[in-house]
């Protein structure tokens, strides 16, 4: 069985059968355990969104993502996650239509992003901080739950790790050499 919510982050979990995930942006809300599957704040318009995508994909029962709470100023993470679901990615990984500072998805595959976009419907409550209103939206989502999206999808993190070299003649970085006298220069310099 695949792991539920495999990417670490700042989130709480409730009923895995629930069709609802709630992104609370800069606010902290708590929800009754049986109504919401996963909820938590989301600070950044790049790494934060990647965590949401990966964790939502791990639970195909989640069919709605409610975006609520005060927007993250500067990052515009709420607007950006909605733009991702609405528009997808440009070729270089930039989220189309995002107003955020550096809205790039780079650690997760395009296939995963497209599946996320198909799996969930976004509920725009950006700026909403009334817990009562958010809970009503949760109820409405539960009422129109279309059922599971199928098998869980495990989004692997794309690693760009450089090959580790244990026996080498460089220190710090492959472009640098440090002389026995402490002088740093480029590797190609004599």
């Amino acid at each position: 069985m695949s792991e539920l919510y495999p990417w670490p982050g700042n989130y709480e979990t409730g009923n895995p059968e629930s069709p609802v995930a709630v992104i609370t942006l800069s606010d902290d809300f708590d929800f009754e355990g049986d109504k919401v599957a996963i909820w938590g704040p989301m600070k950044t318009e790049n790494l934060g969104i990647e965590k949401v995508v990966a964790n939502v994909l791990s639970n195909p029962n989640i069919r709605f993502v409610i975006v609520c709470g005060e927007e993250i100023r500067g990052h515009r993470s709420g607007q950006t996650v909605m733009a991702l679901i609405e528009n997808g990615l440009e070729e270089n990984g930039r989220i189309k239509g995002s107003e955020g500072a550096v809205p790039y998805i780079e650690n997760i595959s395009l296939e995963a992003v497209e599946r996320f976009r198909e799996q969930v419907e976004v509920i725009d409550l950006l700026g909403e901080t009334s817990k009562e209103k958010i809970e009503k939206a949760v109820e409405r989502c539960i009422d129109k739950d279309p059922g599971s999206f199928g098998e869980p999808y495990t989004a692997l993190k794309i690693e760009t790790r450089e090959e580790t070299v244990l026996e080498t003649d460089f220190a710090l970085h492959s472009s640098l050499k440090i002389s026995p006298w402490g002088k740093i220069s480029s590797m190609e310099e004599k």
């Binding site: 100023r73 500072a101 550096v102 650690n107 760009t160 710090l172 740093i184």
Partner: protein
């Protein structure tokens, strides 16, 4: 500890020297003001803000560690009063921290209008730059800019170099040639702090690599790495823990040759500046004793 064979550029920011060989000039410390949640009503609490700047200035005089103020501007409607505040309360150069491109564009236009482009370090020129912003920068270049080496596609040291040098796979041109073309005079390189688990240590490794590659003043703001460390959430209310860790993590890039540090909330000047005086004193002794470097006059090496 080290010295670079590549010539190292030093800028004179109205009497503050930043850059050069490690140990020669004290580290420039930049404290941030008007960050999110610092004040309940920032516009009404400008006196408190001015007092914090005054405290940082006093510590700079006492320690010989130079400092600048970094002012957060999130929204367009904050531009006018925050720039006015800076001009009224700060002698010389200050840094404006503007996460959104649209805000940065408006700021440049406003600075041009009031004749204050010469006072500003633009923070930051980064991957999120738009065509419109580049055009505005060419028309209204600020005196200086922080060029941020953040590369979400390839966040190892080489990826960070690429964003500065040629844009890597994400930009058509690198931030350095773009800033030079725009006519920005002071080019300060930021190795881009990333959270633990996202190649955080590459922000350190990139310090000597940037200095060797570009010969320009280089720094970073590793307090961001501390503040995104999740286990510390349980100590959220214990400011001393954050302030201590914020100050101590700044020692590491300086050991590797960093010239400036964005140390985070300006309230932490009382820890951050004396801490840096200690590190700089050690670095200066090493540079003088071992490399025969001539240490600058305004330096804790001589004054403390």
């Amino acid at each position: 500890m080290f010295s670079f064979t590549q010539e190292q550029r030093t800028y004179d920011l109205e009497g503050i020297h930043v850059g050069g060989q490690p140990g020669v000039h004290p580290t420039l410390m930049v404290g941030t003001i008007f960050y999110e949640e610092q004040f309940e009503d920032p516009r009404e609490e400008q006196e408190k803000a001015a007092e914090l700047i005054h405290q940082q200035d006093k510590l700079s005089q006492r320690t010989s560690i130079p400092s600048l103020v970094d002012i957060f501007i999130y929204e367009k409607n904050e531009i006018e009063w925050k720039v006015d505040f800076a001009l009224e309360n700060i002698d010389g150069v200050f840094s404006l921290d503007m996460p959104e491109s649209e805000v940065r564009i408006e700021v440049l236009n406003h600075l041009k209008e009031i004749g204050a482009l010469e006072n500003v370090i633009y923070n930051s020129f980064n991957l999120g730059v738009t065509e419109k912003e580049i055009e505005t920068l060419k028309e209204n270049p600020p005196k200086g800019a922080i060029l941020l080496g953040y590369n979400p596609q390839k966040n190892n040291t080489q990826g960070r170099v690429d964003i500065i040098k040629d844009g890597g796979a994400l930009m058509e041109k690198g931030l350095l040639p773009l800033a030079k073309d725009a006519g920005v005079e002071y080019l300060l390189l930021d190795t881009a702090a990333t959270p633990f688990g996202e190649k955080a240590c590459e922000s350190l490794r990139a310090v000597p690599v940037f200095k060797n590659e570009f010969g320009l003043p280089t720094g970073c703001s590793l307090h961001n790495t501390v503040e995104s460390w999740k286990w510390l959430d349980e100590y959220e209310s214990e400011e001393n823990i954050f302030r201590t860790l914020d100050a101590s993590i700044d020692n590491l890039p300086v050991l590797l040759g960093a010239d400036f540090i964005y140390y985070g909330p300006i309230e932490n000047a009382g820890l951050a500046l004396p801490n840096m005086a200690m590190v700089d004193k050690l670095m200066a002794e090493g540079a003088e004793d071992y490399f025969g470097a001539e240490i600058s006059e305004e330096h804790p090496h001589k004054s403390l």
